[in-house]
Symmetry: none
Subunit: 213 residues, 4 copies
DNA sequence: GATGAATGAGCCTTCATTCAT
DNA sequence: GATGAATGAAGGCTCATTCAT
């Protein structure tokens, strides 16, 4: 009967939570995880101080939910890209590489916040709890794609090692791009990623990208 | 044999400072940069908390000097390894790779502390100030070695990209080894590093290491 | 009759601020400006120490606002007395003299606090910032009254000097009354003030006060 | 036998103490009584930190001796001026007035330090203990001179009141000269002091000074 | 739902004092 | 005599959390 009001309240609740999470990400990016205060978050969200605890009970829970939110969002992106790439392992790998450089959800603020979460030892249990599954899934997907490409392409590489080299090069470039004093361009980073793929899989990649045939 | 006066109530200035820096590194590794308190450091060093400020004036300066200490120590290690490797670029690259995995000064505590320093945005100015020069020098050395190997070895790679791929793979494995829930072994990491070198420089490296000839 | 909400856990902002300022004055009087701690003030006001910073942000600001509060209060008193005295300069001067000795807002605590503010060199910039205008206005008012009395009464005095002598005698007696080991009475102080006025303006004052006609 | 060495040590001792007292006065003037630290004093005196406590046992004793030093010095000055003035009360009063404005030992630093000592309530017991006798003697001398001048000059004033007015005017002008934002000149202050004397003792003083005859 | 006053634990920092050298 | 390392108490300030309204 009062559905609209109920859903209005519920919508308001969900809206507030997401609004606060976005404010949290922005605040972490600006001030760092440890310097972030609940007051900062409230100010960034344009609400009162007490409301943050009202919705998240504690600072720890706010951080946990923020982390989960980012991790889930990222997973949605790469799995969608992978699904769209079809069955060819080379196309899949190409999709995974491009995804990391094109993912619109990976804004600088989010990357900065992300980084803050696993910068410090004491955050790591929380990180593993919230992101461990997603990260594991990502690594398995990457490994799987490489395994199929090695098998189907006739390469003699250890799949996990090839996947690891590619993955870490890409992640490392993220960080260099964000935090270096004189970063190179995004295009240069992408070419480096493809150069890495080309070194590992020379019959499928060049430093310009996927080979045409 | 016994260090006179260093364990007593009045230690020399230099001794106390290094002792406090080591305690700082251990404390950062255990509690994180932001959770580290001067009292923690003092307790870890077995002195009163007032002494920390007596020697370092402020927490900020303690952190700055700690960072500088680690950065300088690391530089000494890799530059010594490079100097010992002689003129051959392949031997140099081999030395740089091995150095990262063998460097006794790169204890887990130091890596954890290192990571904490550039995990958060607000620490980065301090990081760049204390480590920027050393990092730049390291990258240039790595680039130079790759450039010579490419030139002398007849490879057709872009030196900066090859160097970057190797460098980031190695650094990335550090982090995975330390922070992953189920890490692989150090030997596996080293093999992966050589696999990366082998993919880039197949006439000089295999995934077992430097080629014999 | 009973002030609702002012004694409970949540008082209005203005009420709390004034309450804390009064507690500050009392604490300065008892312990001195430099020995006063925020905890002292909080205890005197019956609240927690965190609340002081909540309302005043810092100790410096608390002191600044306390000083301003006292200065403004004093100005209100003497300007009201002056306004009530009418146009006659002799009546005005009489009012200014009596005002200093009768001002109910100039409690011993406030005078002690006042004195503490300009006892030390480093407080003086703050003092000038908060009280400079009021003090200047007071001196100008005193000068103006003396000028008119000299002019209308046919005296041959330099107005600023006469005003200065009276002003400083009165202020000096405040201090002697408060801080001397064996002070004289308030009545004796008032008679001395009138004796000063009588020496300067013998046709208008005696040491008992304003001449009758 | 070893007298020279003994007196050498003793001289050194006395020299150090006076050196530290002068450094204390300078430091109080610069930083205020409460902000003055023993380290500041040691730095100002060019000696090590621990030496201050070695010579004065505690900060409180250093302050007490500093205060006593200044008070005794001031007393020597005005009593010498009084002794030099001879028996005439008008000449004596003239000497007392001039003394306050000419006393070379009353440097700005000392006046500032002086002021700091009785600015705060908690210093007053110390002040009275160290300076009470000298101050009392000064007031009695001033009162006595005024009493004789009133008696011999045929004035009908209450001596204590006349003395008080003069004394407080002079002291008040010190403070105004030192601490006011826009002070008047020293000459103007002296003329004001004589104007005060002239108002009280018109047959002996003008605002220019002592009458000639 | 939302606000913001209030609490209190804990941190950095200062500094008088002690004491080994 | 003199130095300066070392101690530890205490203060200002921050901030997560609670709670009356």
């Amino acid at each position: 009967m009062d559905q609209p009001a109920q859903s209005g309240r519920k919508a308001s609740r969900a809206f507030r939570r997401e609004q606060l999470i976005e404010a949290t990400i922005a605040t972490i990016a600006r001030k760092g995880l440890s310097q972030m205060t609940l007051t900062d978050v409230a100010v960034a969200a344009g609400v009162s101080h007490g409301l943050v605890n009202f919705h998240f009970q504690s600072k720890d829970r706010l951080l946990a939910e923020t982390l989960r939110f980012m991790s889930d969002d990222h997973r949605k992106n790469w799995s969608a890209a992978l699904a769209a790439a079809g069955p060819s392992p080379a196309l899949c790998l190409n999709a995974l590489i491009l995804c990391e450089f094109n993912d619109v959800s990976q804004t600088p603020d989010r990357l900065t916040a992300w980084c803050a979460f696993w910068g410090e030892a004491q955050n790591r249990p929380l990180y593993l709890e919230q992101c461990g599954d997603n990260d594991r899934t990502y690594i398995e997907a990457f490994d799987g794609v490489c395994r199929r490409l090695i098998s189907e392409g006739g390469y003699s590489l250890v799949p996990e090692r090839a996947a690891r080299i590619l993955r870490l090069s890409i992640e490392g470039m993220w960080l260099e791009l964000m935090f270096s004093a004189k970063p190179y361009s995004g295009t240069e980073a992408l070419h480096t990623a493809f150069a890495c793929a080309a070194a590992l899989f020379p019959r499928h990649f060049t430093s310009e990208g996927l080979k045409a045939d």
